[in-house]
């Protein structure tokens, strides 16, 4: 199984999912609008007072990013499961975990990266100062892929299960907690002047670990679900 067919397969899978996402642009935009709306609810719900908003800003933006990326997990495999293309993917001569990585990468490009690009807007809305916003983007850049990678395991496990959408959140949210803690921790440290390298290196470690381990879990879950 030479190298070229693997990278050829990777590019084909990523471009396939991106074209599919572009053909159904509405689904992509709903995730982004959900992210914006959830963050804008907090000033209404808590208080418009800037000082308070600044202190809860990292947590609010991170939790909203968590929920938004989980919202879009449902579509990761379910359409392919319905029309039989997932079966064909399981029968490809390439390793399934690499295929899963390509699909999750495409899913992140569509539902994770936009959150990172939108976060400065929301950071300003909640009164974060400039280095707070920069660090928010960095933590989201490192964190959102981990959310997609871990979420993919949950999406694969609940494939074709009635009420699967809600069930995914129950399975996956507890596993997001370490990323949430160090993501918000880094921004808090930056805004209060403490050093944040420790948090970022941990987020980086989570990213590397989940890139290596979760596709194996997702591939195994897919084989179980397609049976």
């Amino acid at each position: 199984m030479n190298q070229s067919s693997l990278s050829g397969m990777w590019r084909a899978m990523v471009s396939r999912d991106l074209t599919l996402a572009m053909r159904r642009r509405a689904d992509v935009l709903t995730t982004l609008f959900f992210f914006i709306i959830v963050v804008s609810l907090f000033p209404l719900g808590v208080s418009p007072e800037m000082e308070l908003l600044r202190s809860i800003a990292p947590g609010v933006i991170w939790v909203a990013a968590l929920l938004a990326s989980m919202l879009s997990l449902g579509r990761l495999f379910s359409d392919d499961f319905q029309d039989g293309t997932l079966e064909q993917m399981l029968l490809l001569p390439q390793p399934l975990s690499v295929l899963v990585l390509a699909k999750v990468f495409a899913h992140w490009l569509v539902s994770g990266l936009p959150l990172v690009l939108l976060s400065p807007l929301l950071g300003m809305q909640l009164g974060l100062d400039s280095d707070g916003i920069v660090l928010m983007m960095v933590t989201l850049l490192l964190g959102t892929p981990v959310l997609s990678l871990i979420g993919a395991v949950g999406a694969a496990l609940t494939l074709g299960v009635r009420g699967g959408g809600v069930l995914v959140s129950l399975l996956v949210l507890p596993l997001y907690i370490p990323v949430l803690i160090f993501g918000t921790g880094a921004v808090d440290a930056a805004t209060s002047g403490m050093d944040y390298e420790g948090h970022l290196s941990l987020l980086g470690a989570f990213l590397v670990l989940s890139v290596v381990l979760t596709p194996l879990g997702t591939a195994a879950a897919l084989r179980i679900s397609v049976e």
Binding site: T158, L173, P174, I224, E227
Partner: protein, 256 residues
């Protein structure tokens, strides 16, 4: 030459042989559980001295700590059965994993419940975002996730294997969750405030706690074996041996 216990182990890994074996073992574990519980309770109330600072309310640790230990221990055993079940395709291991989950979830809830009723007299609040209590809460979410995935999937074989995989993912994440919650707790509250386990532990208190833990252990084995027998009946419904057993002597089977 296959060693002696290997044959026995393989023999009892088939549901058909495990079912009667479990039936014979259950009364023994019940006996042990009751004895240990009685001894443990007696020690908790009459042997352990009154604490100079907390008075009587510290006795709650004789239930809280064993329940917390059991909740963690059962999840690890569940994950172990899940790994065995998935790698060697042993249906019996998968059934044991699903039989363990409800009892594990119960002990997790009890650990949180008794933790709250110990916290109120000791630190003045039912819920404290202490690292251990928070990790216990997350463990409860993992149990609930496991059980809801298992019940959401109709095909029993796929349900068993999917939830086994979830248990493995959970057990890999557990130390990371526990360690990051511990770090998060010390950062925001500082080490001093977080409630320590208990005042300096007199040795009699530790032995009481161990007796209670063993009592809970025996209880768990007995209940899980009973639930495993029900799971076996449900999943082996179409096999001949279940039919024969039910036809042979229905009334006796009902009582056992």
């Amino acid at each position: 030459m296959v060693s002696e216990n290997a044959i026995a182990w393989y023999h009892f890994s088939s549901p058909k042989n495990f079912y009667p074996l479990a039936g014979r073992l259950i009364p023994w574990f019940w006996g042990l559980a009751v004895i240990l519980l009685v001894v443990g309770l007696y020690m908790s109330f009459f042997v352990a001295p009154t604490d100079y600072k907390q008075g009587e309310s510290y006795r709650i640790i004789f239930v809280h700590v064993p329940a917390a230990w059991m909740s963690m221990f059962i999840y690890l055993v569940m994950a172990a059965y899940a790994i065995i079940g998935l790698t060697w395709k042993l249906r019996m291991a998968e059934m044991m994993a699903s039989a363990l989950a409800p009892t594990g979830a119960m002990f997790t809830f009890l650990a949180l419940w008794t933790g709250a009723f110990w916290g109120k007299p000791t630190w003045g609040a039912y819920w404290v975002w202490d690292a251990r209590l928070t990790s216990e809460l997350i463990l409860l979410f993992l149990y609930i996730g496991y059980m809801s995935l298992q019940s959401a999937i109709d095909d029993p074989r796929r349900a068993a294997r999917a939830s086994a995989l979830l248990a493995i993912v959970g057990v890999i994440n557990l130390p990371v969750i526990y360690w990051s919650v511990k770090w998060w707790n010390t950062l925001h509250q500082g080490a001093s405030v977080s409630p320590t386990m208990a005042p300096k532990m007199a040795s009699i208190m530790i032995t009481t706690m161990l007796v209670m833990t063993f009592a809970f252990w025996m209880y768990t084995i007995a209940v899980v074996l009973m639930r495993a027998r029900r799971v076996i009946l449900e999943r082996e419904r179409q096999t001949s041996w279940v039919m024969e057993m039910v036809n042979a002597d229905p009334q006796a089977e009902m009582k056992k």
